[in-house]
Symmetry: C2
Subunit: 151 residues, 2 copies
DNA sequence: GACATATAGTTGTTTAAACAACCATTCAAA
DNA sequence: TTTGAATGGTTGTTTAAACAACTATATGTC
């Protein structure tokens, strides 16, 4: 209603997320420069497996905000790269548990360091207070849209 | 170095832009519910042509933060949908000028209204002050990363 | 004017997202 | 216990992003 804070040019870049795509591109570039041959999407899956190894594909869907087909194919590609392995669950034969390989475990430290440096590049000159507020806004936006508009 | 404000879980969602992907998904959904059969990527190109009709593909690249192949294919698809037309420039025969069709001109009002409403849904409960700061942070991030890290 | 270089755009390939349709297994209810 | 719904995952299709390699035109320099 009266909450329309966006002039034309700003509306576009807010919606299309030019800042977050810029971060993603820079991270991909930094991976490449360090001879890490994974995509940021693959990295985002590994990221959650590093936090907790052995998750079902559905858990990875929830963690990464992707749908099931997307995770199926990301896991396909990670398996081709020998970074993860699908293991059929004994309890529930519908479930694939995804486990990290030794190689993937070794990627953790370096890639997290690169991600952290990338974020520092991105946030240069931004104060802690501003970062806190930006985080709150982005979280609020996510929460506002999490629930479907038509129930 | 000491600017590392991000705990694990937050780093991931900041980099992968879960908020902006959520906005993009909601906008796409709202287009669909209003029987607007365009993608958000196509909309983002039209958006800049509504601001100024008759731009070269290179200008659209700069405006939408996409590379040349991406714009070539978006314009291909928009042309198939009869929403834009490529017109060879008389001054410089390398250049295609892109012009809106009558149909595309008629999409402007409705789609901008939907985009604006979508942003309002997204920003519910966020104060004007917070929005201003979030905008500043995102702009700063974009500026920080605009210049290549290795010149 | 001839040649190198820059600019504008296209094509090919790989990776991924979104959506629909589908199969297999499990669970719940009659 | 059988049947119907829910859950977990896969496959097919369209759209798009990123990157490399390419063609055509324009420009600048000798």
């Amino acid at each position: 209603m009266s909450n329309n804070q966006f002039k034309r040019g700003e509306l576009y870049s807010f919606i299309t997320g030019k800042a977050s795509t810029a971060i993603a591109r820079r991270l991909q570039k930094n991976f490449k420069q360090n001879n890490l041959d994974i995509t940021i999407e693959q990295w985002s899956v590994l990221y959650h497996l590093w936090k907790e190894d052995g998750q079902s594909q559905q858990q990875l869907c929830d963690a990464t905000f992707r749908d099931k087909p997307s995770i199926t194919r990301l896991v396909d590609n990670l398996e081709k790269l020998q970074l993860v392995k699908r293991v059929a669950s004994k309890d529930d034969r519908r479930i694939n548990m995804i486990y990290l390989s030794k190689e993937a475990q070794q990627l953790q430290e370096q890639s997290m360091e690169i991600a952290s440096q990338t974020l520092n590049e991105a946030l240069m000159g931004v104060t802690n207070g501003q970062i806190e507020i930006a985080k709150e806004v982005l979280q609020k936006v996510y929460d506002n849209l999490k629930t479907p508009s038509t129930p």
